[in-house]
């Protein structure tokens, strides 16, 4: 006679096993401020998306205010600070995405003192959203279907949104800037340093177009 383990026993067994394997995992790890802020930002951004959908009037005011800010910032900006100190690099010894701080970071701002400006947007894209706090300033551009996000971080707060397990980093030099490029399906992630800040650009454009956009990011100084 055939011996069969029934499904309900298996499910009950897996519940017991799952509970047992978690029994020795404590909850005493105290998250750092950096981590909490990063996650708060994630949650804040979620609220922002909902806000965008439901409160269109408020959204319009926000977008207009952001557009005016960018215009003023662009008019006031002097030539972009091009010197790129490679204060971070992708560890090629491992495939893990690690950001290593260089000695020059001691002088890096620990808050966003000067928000970046974009000299021009890619054709068809308009500003759709801004998110900011003391350590991050982010613009989202949209063309109705796709989005591009340009984010400015203090070095201490930076953590890439790229999933290191699904994409491999490549170093690309364009002009006088070194970029870390990751491509996952259609999405391209660029990370680079400018004006003492770390920038991340995420979008679904060809790498060349993404690099062209990144070159238009400037920090008045």
């Amino acid at each position: 006679m055939e011996k069969i383990l029934d499904r309900s026993t298996l499910v009950s067994a897996l519940e017991i096993y799952a509970n047992n394997r978690l029994s020795d995992v404590g909850e005493d790890f105290e998250p750092s401020q950096r981590f909490e802020k990063k996650m708060e930002r994630l949650i804040k951004s979620q609220s922002s998306l909902y806000y965008k959908v439901t409160l269109t009037r408020a959204r319009r005011i926000m977008v207009i205010a952001a557009a005016i800010s960018i215009l003023i910032a662009s008019l006031m900006s002097v030539s972009a600070v091009r010197e790129t100190i490679l204060g971070f690099f992708v560890s090629r010894e491992s495939e893990a995405y690690s950001v290593t701080r260089a000695e020059s970071d001691a002088k890096a701002p620990d808050t966003i003192e000067t928000a970046f400006s974009l000299e021009e947007f890619p054709e068809g894209y308009k500003l759709s959203e801004t998110v900011s706090d003391d350590e991050m300033y982010s613009l989202t551009l949209a063309d109705g279907e796709k989005e591009i996000t340009v984010s400015q971080f203090t070095k201490a707060s930076f953590a890439s949104a790229a999933d290191a397990d699904f994409s491999k980093p490549e170093s690309v030099r364009n002009g006088d800037t070194d970029y870390i490029v990751r491509t996952l399906d259609e999405t391209v992630h660029l990370v680079f340093e400018r004006g003492g800040y770390v920038f991340e650009v995420i979008g679904e454009l060809p790498v060349e177009d993404m690099l062209a956009l990144a070159s238009k990011v400037s920090v008045a100084g």
Binding site: L5, L10, S12, F29, Y50, E147
Partner: protein, 181 residues
Amino acid sequence: MLAFYLSLAQDENDRDKFEQIYIKYRRLMLSAAYKILGDAELSEDAVHNAFMRILNNLGKLGEVDSPRTRSYVVIVAENVAKTMYMQRRRTVSLEDEQLCGSVDDVADEYEDKSSAEYVAAVIARMPEKYGAVLILKYLNGLVDREIASSLGLSDAAVRKRLQRAREMLKTLLDVDDVEGF
């Protein structure tokens, strides 16, 4: 900056759920990752990545305050941490195909070999990676593609891992088949 990932959260309920999962499980996930990595900053990076993966499968998770969700988030955090550990140490695998202890000892402990307790004890002797995919498949009800995105594996690797897990379980339990496998 996370608009791409956040767009995966389909509606307000998903977003609320994500926040609740974060509040409820972040310390547990961080502790689980720390047990593997032994480094606080790396553990936080691992859990951050784990939350990205959780966003992908938010719709498939049930109640936030449930053993199944608790188990799921820890498995995802552990998996990201193990991947980071392996990448840093350049080791091929933390786990191998070896059993974690003798199944004969388990058999001696349990009279009723058809009980859930006995089956659970046998699963605990299997490599953790097999137990993890069985949980995601049969407790969390994820399809292979969702397991793959949760664990950072290819669909093919998930199918292979599930196949090995099922075969090992059937052998250890000395059964011909498992209903629903």
